[in-house]
Symmetry: C2
Subunit: 156 residues, 2 copies
């Protein structure tokens, strides 16, 4: 029931605390306390330990982009000329708000991005006008996600 890495040891109680907060960051400390059977103050102490260990990176509100009309997600593999450095390309990609993830990958492409658009037309527009126009981008390969069937964090 214990997991040890990088000078941090988390036991079953820590895991229960984390699991509760990973589901809902606003779960009251006292409710977690009731669930695991120790006092609220103890939960609080453990949370401070977990924050100090940097295991807890923060908390985020998750918004549903579909409500705003963003319905088309896609992955785009990007080939870069040798002339351009990866950091320069990433700098340009950061300016495109629809780019949600950017990875420096092994394999065919230099860069793999995840991008969220309103619709196919929007995607096409971004590919042609914003991405292809970045200097050093020679070619792209696009994979549209018809359905995201799994979305989760690592299991604690």
């Amino acid at each position: 029931m214990k997991t040890t890495n990088n000078n941090i040891t988390i036991d079953g109680i820590d895991k229960k605390i984390l699991r509760a907060l990973m589901q809902d960051a606003r779960t009251p400390v006292l409710e977690i306390a009731r669930q695991v059977g120790i006092s609220g103050a103890a939960i609080h102490q453990r949370l401070r330990k977990l924050e100090k260990s940097k295991l807890i990176a923060g908390s985020k509100f998750v918004i549903n982009p579909k409500v705003l009309g963003y319905t088309t997600m896609a992955f785009v593999g990007i080939y870069l000329d040798k002339a351009i450095s990866n950091p320069d390309a990433v700098k340009q990609l950061k300016k495109i708000p629809e780019v949600l993830e950017c990875h420096y990958t092994t394999g065919n492409w230099s860069i793999l991005i995840k991008i969220l658009c309103m619709d196919n037309e929007h995607l096409m527009h971004l590919l042609n006008n914003d991405i292809q126009s970045i200097s050093g981008v020679s070619r792209t390969e696009t994979f549209i996600s018809l359905d995201q069937q799994i979305e989760r964090q690592i299991k604690i």
Copy 2:
């Protein structure tokens, strides 16, 4: 300054509220109130409206997997035999906790997954023992993410 979609209208104040909470889900309502210059009660009313519209999907604690020793992220494109249905394969993939995302994609592959492992050996083990062994999986292509340079939600 106004954005309208799917019967929901969010103005500049709503956007400020969302931006604050997307950064840190535990930002106190009263602090947001101070920032935008209206009362806490008004913020609260707007939050109820946003929740009702389903724009707010929830809140999550974000944990840093590196602290637990998960340092290798990869994307795996999966080819499926025509014999196997996509839902059946996804059902198997859900049982592998290291699989964080699973997309039904257009293009070469049937499925694209994002996977988080301790190291290359762990990745190899998962590919050979867990993923390749799923019935219907004929072939995979793996792209290791050497560095994730962008990670964010859609801009409000």
